[in-house]
């Protein structure tokens, strides 16, 4: 993956001097610049209020930057009109801390949602939903209502929904926030698995213990500014940057 990225010279996500000021005057991000390479997995850390959520919102176009440029796959998101936003979101799988499942539907329908939206044929939907649920190990819970599942299972249903249409980019906001360490590791190994298949993954978390156990790059935000994390020296990182040098 690293080689491919270096070869094509493409970043999955690129922030260029991005600032975000909310209407109240609160400056959530200040001149943030970073890149996430194609096929890279990275953590985004920082205290609550440091701007992690804002950063993810800028990528998923829930917010627009006040200054600077956010690009995905070298497409400038400033050039995306509001009308096109849904189509951008279809390329991004998003995983939420509180999993955000729809209680009215069963597990199958929840996972199928992104496919239904795209107008996928029913036949393909069944196949792909089953594949996604198989990946997260919940194939036996297809017919269950989300409320009957445990927290960890609900989170995994949320992950299945995010990956069901195989998006090239996964964003996760505190995916392990409510889970005990063992379950957290389980979830993280799922992300690693997707990453091995070529998906770029950005995980926002304040669970530093979790990050320390893995050898991935971590981007640290503090008061809206991006710090370089001296602990997370990724041997692959040079390759990623090397592509642009």
């Amino acid at each position: 993956m690293a080689i491919a990225s270096a070869f094509f010279g493409l970043d999955m996500i690129k922030f260029d001097q991005v600032s975000k000021t909310y209407p109240g005057g609160h400056m959530a991000l200040e001149k943030v610049s970073f890149e996430l390479g194609r096929g890279e997995l990275a953590f985004l850390t920082g205290h609550s209020g440091a701007g992690k959520s804002t950063l993810l919102k800028l990528i998923s176009l829930m917010e627009r930057p006040s200054a600077g440029k956010v690009s995905i796959n070298d497409v400038d998101l400033n050039s995306i009109s509001n009308r096109q936003v849904p189509f951008v979101r279809r390329d991004i799988g998003i995983i939420f801390q509180n999993h955000r499942l729809l209680e009215r539907y069963n597990v199958f329908d929840n996972v199928a949602l992104p496919l239904v939206i795209e107008g996928t044929h029913r036949k393909h939907i069944t196949k792909r939903v089953n594949a996604a649920l198989d990946k997260v190990g919940l194939l036996d819970k297809v017919k269950c209502q989300p409320s009957t599942l445990s927290g960890g299972e609900q989170q995994r249903v949320g992950i299945a929904r995010a990956i069901v249409n195989s998006p090239p980019l996964l964003l996760a906001d505190e995916p392990t926030g409510n889970l005990d360490p063992e379950l957290s590791m389980e979830i993280l190994s799922l992300f690693e698995d997707f990453n091995r298949h070529g998906t770029s993954v950005l995980i926002a978390t304040h669970d530093l213990g979790l990050i320390a156990r893995m050898k991935y790059r971590s981007l640290t935000l503090e008061h809206g500014r991006m710090l370089q994390d001296p602990l997370a020296i990724d041997p692959l990182k040079d390759d990623f940057l090397g592509g642009h040098a």
């Binding site: 959520s53 919102k57 829930m62 849904p86 189509f87 795209e118 996928t120």
Partner: protein, 328 residues
């Protein structure tokens, strides 16, 4: 399909489709939404029934008024053309002279037919209709004048031309005075106009109420599904995709509300039928109360659908835009 990743469209579900196939899928999705939202209403029957009944009653009132106007118009159209001129013959004119008068009048180009009612005939008729019967026998002499009934030709039956004809006829020597049954016709027409106008006004008011009721129902339903809409937006649903079920719900409300109104009006007419036939019997005319015909029913349904669509569209436009996923 994909804006960010060229070529991902192929790998994703949306394989290359022809325009016809795309249209087919579009229509199919539209129908699926329609059936789905009907099922949704079925699942919350109490709320749906209440709304539908309110809509049905709101539509019933203007429909009833329309049926009333229609029937009144039908009754009055029988009178519109039968403008008859009654000419009262002077008392001193002899029977022979009257007969020549009748002949002379028959030659008028404006006159279609002339009918002579002698004093005796008039008295007989009056006896029969009034029910005074024998009481009238006590009269020493017949108080009624001879009357010549003149029916103008079609061209001269309008209010103005009939008035001109009347003036012309009144100038005949034998005529005391003439009477044109036009005043009551004008009054009737004015009343009918007023009725139509008020039906229109009431109709517009009630139909606006229908739009507002549906709009509000849809608004509540949108608020109820706020979280769902947020999730849909997050996983990349277009506004069209999110709007369609709500628009369908509005349309279903319209259809069912329209049917309820139709049933109400039909029941009401059935209920009134006996009362109407009693009145008709008194007036010795053959009159059948007319309900809505098929094309009017279709119009009612289309109107209800349109109102349902407008109501839900207004809500959907305003409120779904406001719901944005605020927290990741």
């Amino acid at each position: 399909m994909s804006l960010l990743f060229k070529g991902r469209g192929n790998q994703a579900a949306s394989q290359e489709k022809s325009a016809v196939l795309k249209l087919y899928f579009f229509v199919l999705t539209l129908f699926r939404h329609g059936v789905h939202s009907l099922g949704e209403m079925w699942r919350t029957p109490m709320a749906s029934i209440m709304t539908i009944l309110v809509l049905g009653l709101s539509l019933t009132l203007p429909t009833t008024l329309f049926v009333v106007v229609k029937n009144v118009q039908k009754v009055s159209s029988g009178f519109q053309e039968a403008a008859e001129i009654s000419l009262f013959v002077k008392e001193e004119i002899s029977e022979q002279e009257t007969k020549t008068l009748v002949k002379r009048l028959g030659l008028y180009p404006e006159v279609e037919s002339v009918n002579f009612i002698s004093q005796a005939q008039a008295l007989d008729e009056f006896k029969q209709i009034s029910g005074f019967g024998q009481a009238l026998d006590y009269l020493e002499e017949n108080p009624l004048p001879s009357v010549v009934l003149v029916t103008p030709t079609k061209r001269h039956r309008g209010a103005e031309s009939a008035q001109l004809l009347l003036e012309k006829l009144e100038s005949e020597r034998e005529i005391e005075f003439g009477k044109l049954d036009i005043e009551w016709l004008e009054r009737l027409n004015a009343l009918l106009g007023l009725l139509k106008e008020s039906v229109f006004t009431v109709g517009v008011l009630l139909l606006s109420a229908v739009v507002l009721i549906i709009g509000n129902t849809i608004r509540l339903s949108i608020m109820d599904k706020k979280e769902e809409i947020q999730v849909l937006k997050l996983v990349g649903a277009t506004n069209t995709f999110i709007h369609t079920p709500f628009l369908w719900t509005g349309i279903w409300y319209g259809i069912v509300g329209g049917l309820v109104a139709f049933i109400c009006v039909t029941l009401m007419l059935w209920w009134l039928e006996s009362a109407v036939s009693l009145v008709v019997g008194v007036y010795q005319s053959s009159f059948v109360l007319e309900g809505l015909n098929l094309s009017e029913l279709m119009f009612l349904l289309w109107l209800a659908i349109l109102l349902g669509f407008i109501g839900s569209y207004l809500s959907v436009r305003k409120y779904i835009r406001e719901i944005e996923p605020e927290k990741v």
